[in-house]
């Protein structure tokens, strides 16, 4: 039996999931809880937001995110990959830092513009 907290609405139902041939979900007060629990059990996904190093910018790091939510299991492998990236300013917002990561059809993009530092 697994336990999840539903985040669809402020009620925050405690969902209990029994994994047999099919998923049996209890504790939900509405249908949306079932959908949420199924997704969370079968293929939980998250948007990853972090920073990567950048040379010559007004700040030493630039924020990035995945263009879509990625399966949770890829979060730490992707963080590792991104720790090896170094960009050079200037960089626009929405710039593709990594393309088609882990063949998921998802990119990592910058979420702000980084101007070059005037020395």
């Amino acid at each position: 039996m697994k336990k999840l907290t539903c985040i669809v609405c402020p009620l925050s139902c405690s969902l209990f999931i029994e994994e047999k041939e099919e998923l049996k979900i209890t504790g939900n007060k509405c249908e949306r809880g079932i959908k949420y629990a199924k997704e969370e059990i079968r293929n939980p996904k998250r948007v990853l937001t972090t920073t990567v190093k950048i040379k010559d910018g007004i700040y030493p790091v630039i924020p990035v995110r995945t263009s879509k939510p990625i399966p949770k299991d890829y979060i730490f492998p992707l963080l590792k990959k991104l720790s090896e990236v170094e960009l050079t300013a200037p960089i626009p917002s929405g710039y593709k830092v990594l393309e088609n990561i882990f063949n998921l059809g998802i990119d990592v993009i910058t979420t702000r513009e980084m101007k070059k530092l005037n020395k």
Binding site: C9, P10, T51, I58, Y59, V61
Partner: protein, 417 residues
């Protein structure tokens, strides 16, 4: 040096951007005064998603949300933007004293929009016994270190307070390879949004110690550890049950305080409950021509509301300049039951606006709640909530026709458990 404008906006975060955009779009000559190096305010360090769902109907990160508003503001030629400009004084006759690299400025404005935001409560506000080593930061300071300056504040981290910034930082630091020992919350319920509890703590098995607090700090140069203890029903720590936690960093996520020193200089009365100015439905303070929006008005849970308040403040500033705001009568907005605060705190008549948005915070988490709008014993309108929580604002819109001829405005929130 001297300068004259129609509208001066103090603070270039989300509230000020929306306020400036709204006033600028109406053709007014606007000046944004921002003390930081760039516009966007705290959004620039909030690199996580969750912004803009209400306003843009899509989920953006903080910098992306800021960027959209910055573009909207920059497209209007009648909005002037001064960054790296610190406002030192605001006088009751709408003169602003500010300083920047060019020197000292006296700015005369016909109306002023306050959008200074809020700041974090600090260790000084908490008075925890023990030593005062390095390694104790507010969660927001740590967030700036990691997301903008690019370094970790420590390696073994304990977080005091379960506000959203603390929860977000728990995950952020875990992602950056730090060990996050747990989050300690004095209250019996968490301070942050449920989605953050799930996605920042539960996802990474980071424990949340409810009804606990930090009772002692250890360490000479650098923090070495803290004692935490459970608290009783009244919030007093039970010291005989204290236990030691080894850590090199303590983050504080223990609440936000609207930053109203400038409002006070302008002799604007503040509401002890919100920490911000008393305002009417125009978001005009008790001093005519001064408006407030965003976290300087009340601490908001979502940035979208900050932007909406900014838009209203800009629109109202134009109404004020045109002499459309009359204030012939003033009626307080009363709150009772499980409500902690309300904005606006009073209505000015004639109302003029077609509808009024009310923002509330509740005192305690409760299920099956009903919000009543009453005039004496008469119920004018009701709203139902399956669950209310202190971390989440209640936001409602009321048609002005309901409130046009009432003698009393009384909101009552009743609920079970």
């Amino acid at each position: 040096m001297k300068k004259e404008v129609d509208i001066a906006v103090i603070g270039g975060g989300p509230g000020g951007l929306a306020g400036a955009f709204s006033a600028g779009k109406r053709g007014l000559k606007v000046l944004i005064l921002e003390r930081g190096e760039e516009l966007g305010g705290i959004l620039n360090q909030c690199i996580h998603p969750g912004f803009g769902l209400l306003y843009f109907k899509e989920e953006l990160t903080g910098p992306e949300y800021a960027e959209r508003w910055i573009k909207m503001v920059e497209e209007l030629d009648n909005i002037e933007i001064w960054t790296k400009t610190m406002v030192l004084e605001v006088s009751p006759d709408k003169r602003i004293l500010a300083v920047n690299e060019k020197g000292l400025w006296e700015i005369k404005a016909k109306a002023i929009i306050f959008s200074m935001g809020c700041r974090e409560r600090t260790q000084g506000n908490l008075a925890i016994p023990g030593t005062r080593p390095s390694g104790i930061f507010t969660a927001g300071t740590a967030q700036r270190f990691v997301n903008i300056e690019g370094y970790l504040p420590g390696e073994k981290i304990l977080i005091l307070g379960s506000g959203d910034i603390g929860l977000i930082m728990a995950r952020r630091l875990r992602w950056e390879g730090a060990e996050v020992i747990g989050v300690v919350e004095k209250l019996p319920y968490p301070g942050g949004l449920t989605r953050n509890l799930v996605q920042c703590l539960e996802d990474y098995d980071i424990p949340l110690y409810l009804s606990h607090t930090v009772v002692e700090i250890k360490g000479k140069e650098r923090l070495e550890g803290v004692y935490i203890a459970p608290v009783d029903d009244k919030g007093n720590p039970i010291l005989e049950n204290k236990k030691y936690i080894s850590c090199d960093t303590l983050l504080l996520s223990v609440g936000l305080i609207p930053e109203n020193e400038l409002s006070e200089m302008a002799e604007i009365p503040l509401d002890g409950k919100t920490g911000g100015p008393f305002v009417d439905q125009f978001l005009m303070t008790e001093k005519e021509g001064f408006f407030a929006c965003g976290n300087v008005l009340l601490v908001n849970d979502l940035v979208d509301y900050v932007s909406l308040q900014g838009l209203l403040a800009g629109e109202s500033a134009e109404k004020y300049l045109k002499g459309e705001i009359k204030r012939e009568k003033k009626l307080p907005v009363k709150i009772n039951g499980n409500l902690r605060l309300v904005v606006p705190q009073y209505l000015s008549y004639p109302i003029i606006l077609p509808e009024i948005t009310f923002y509330f915070r509740v005192l305690n988490p409760k299920e099956n709640s009903i919000l009543y709008l009453k005039e004496k014993e008469k119920i004018l309108k009701t709203w139902k909530y399956p669950m209310v929580k202190p971390a989440e604002m209640l936001v409602i819109k009321v048609s002005s026709s309901i409130l046009e001829n009432v003698e009393e405005i009384n909101f009552v929130l009743e609920g079970s458990k």
